[in-house]
Amino acid sequence: MNIVVAFKVVPDDQDIQIAGDRSLDFSKAKGIVSAYDLNAIEAAAQLAAAHPGSTVTAVTAGPASIDDSKLKKNVLARGVDDLIMAADDALAGMDAAATAEVLAAMLADGGYDVVLCGDGSADDYAQQVDVQLAARLGLPSVSAVTKLAVEGDGLVVERTLEDVVEEVAVPLPAVVAVSPDVAVPRIPGMKDILAAGKKPMDVKAAPCVPAATIDVVSCAAPEAAERACHVAEASADGAIEQFAAALKAAL
């Protein structure tokens, strides 16, 4: 089967810094594959491995900076056969609706059986690209998938929702958003990374430039809660007792 897996490149959230005016400073945060999209890539690779002759195509869209050789190799070293990337500054700062519009344009020619997406991206966590992409492609979609298997002409998936676990038959082609639990991302070896450099990478300009449908009014770090900051050396007289008493009182 032909499997497409969509992923997003986001600034590494471990390296975002807060400036004095509470604005977010991304200057030290390198672009990485959004954490839970790695689980989707792994799910795609495992599905392909279970069905010999399958292909896995990774697809992404974003600003020109996502066209990074290390990042592309990292994706292609994870059981992915080829990569299609729309890297264009016209695609900077897209929300889920815009992302779905661009991915739909990139997939307009069809040729796939299933499009896998991650649970949510580290920045917005909107959980909307999957269903909005499906809406644009005229396909069924299912989210929160924790297990998937081919059965007949379609997929049977287990989705773990807030209160129930549903077993759902999904006709193909379809868009399937997977939960992080679906598969543990592999750690690519040196051989995988070297081989990745030789795999096909199709980097192109924006297939369309979506109009913004949301205005961002403000973006800042939350104000820090006021804390009492009673700090003492543990060896100081009564310090342990005072700490324990405050802890007891808090409960």
Binding site: A96, A122, Q128, V131, L161, P171, P222, C229
Partner: protein, 294 residues
């Protein structure tokens, strides 16, 4: 101005309808699960047939949306409802502003990067779609005659099929319910030292959580127990950070706690500027002493 509320639980139907009343003159509620009474001007019940999946209610709700032509849509942030909202928004050429925690005059506030930032956003077009977190409209009172209509199910062109549905076994929810959480960080030199934190947990009936290095760097704790960006965001009455330096990436997961306690051997650790009570000392000495004093 008209608001459309889409919900599957009664609590959300009630709260979102009450919130919708603060934004619009007319409130139409669509339910496809539980249906509370007297919370809207009109309530439209979508009965999901056996074998259908609630996400596929979008085809039915689309007809309601077209007929009602709302200028604001409030949806419950659960997976079934989020799917329906996404389909409606795409058809309307709009975005969904998700997981709103505060609705203000300037716009709707949501977390960004798991709480590292907060963004206020508003719809650029004529209709605004929001999914709204529980508690956002706390205190708002629902009202309305709540005339109930039932609509016939419209199956989408390519439907999903529900083969089975069972109650979910929940694990890891304890940390959300716990009054006290003890979180272990890199200050623990060996896995066996975590027993000191466990002993404190027992004393205060708390759950044991950790910072990211204890699940990613080493495998001492399950990945579902780490607090911070892309992990858990907890708000217990008391949060006891042990051997955790207090990086922003961790603190966004615990800064809504009632009281923050910190134990760290580095007196310059940033956590001491973000806690209520702090002790400077070695975990191996301090944890048993605190447990003994409780």
């Amino acid at each position: 101005m008209k608001a459309l509320v889409i919900a599957e639980t009664a609590d959300a139907a009630r709260e979102l309808s009450a919130g919708a009343r603060t934004l619009a003159d007319e409130v139409v509620l669509v339910t496809f699960g539980q249906t509370p009474e007297g919370v809207s001007d009109k309530t439209i019940v979508v009965n999901v047939p056996a074998g259908a999946v609630a996400d596929d209610a979008y085809a039915t709700v689309q007809a309601i949306y077209d007929a009602e032509a709302p200028s604001v849509v409030l949806a419950e942030p659960r997976r079934h409802v989020k799917s329906v909202a996404g389909r409606l928004a795409t058809a309307a050429g709009a975005s969904v502003i998700t997981d709103v925690v505060e609705m203000g005059d300037a716009g709707a506030k949501s977390l960004y990067f798991g709480g590292v930032g907060e963004r206020v956003r508003k719809a650029a077009g004529g209709v605004a779609f929001y999914t709204v977190a529980p508690g956002t409209f706390e205190g708002a009172v629902p009202s309305g005659a709540g005339v109930v209509e039932e609509v016939a199910w419209v199956a989408p062109a390519v439907p999903l099929t529900l083969k089975s549905s069972r109650e979910r076994e929940k694990g890891g929810a304890d940390l959300f319910k716990a009054n006290a959480v003890v979180a272990a960080g890199r200050g623990f030199a060996e896995e066996s030292e975590l027993d000191l934190a466990r002993a404190l947990c027992e004393k205060i009936d708390g759950g044991l959580a950790c910072s990211r290095p204890l699940t990613e760097g080493v495998d001492w704790m399950p990945s579902g127990t780490y607090v911070g960006v892309s992990g858990l965001a907890l708000a217990p009455k008391a949060y006891v950070a042990c051997g955790i330096s207090g990086q922003m990436q961790h603190m966004v997961g615990c800064n809504r706690s009632g009281m923050v306690f910190a134990i760290n051997k580095d007196k310059n650790a940033p956590i001491f500027k973000q806690c209520d009570f702090g002790l400077v000392g070695d975990l191996k000495d301090v944890l048993p002493a605190v447990a003994a004093a409780l």
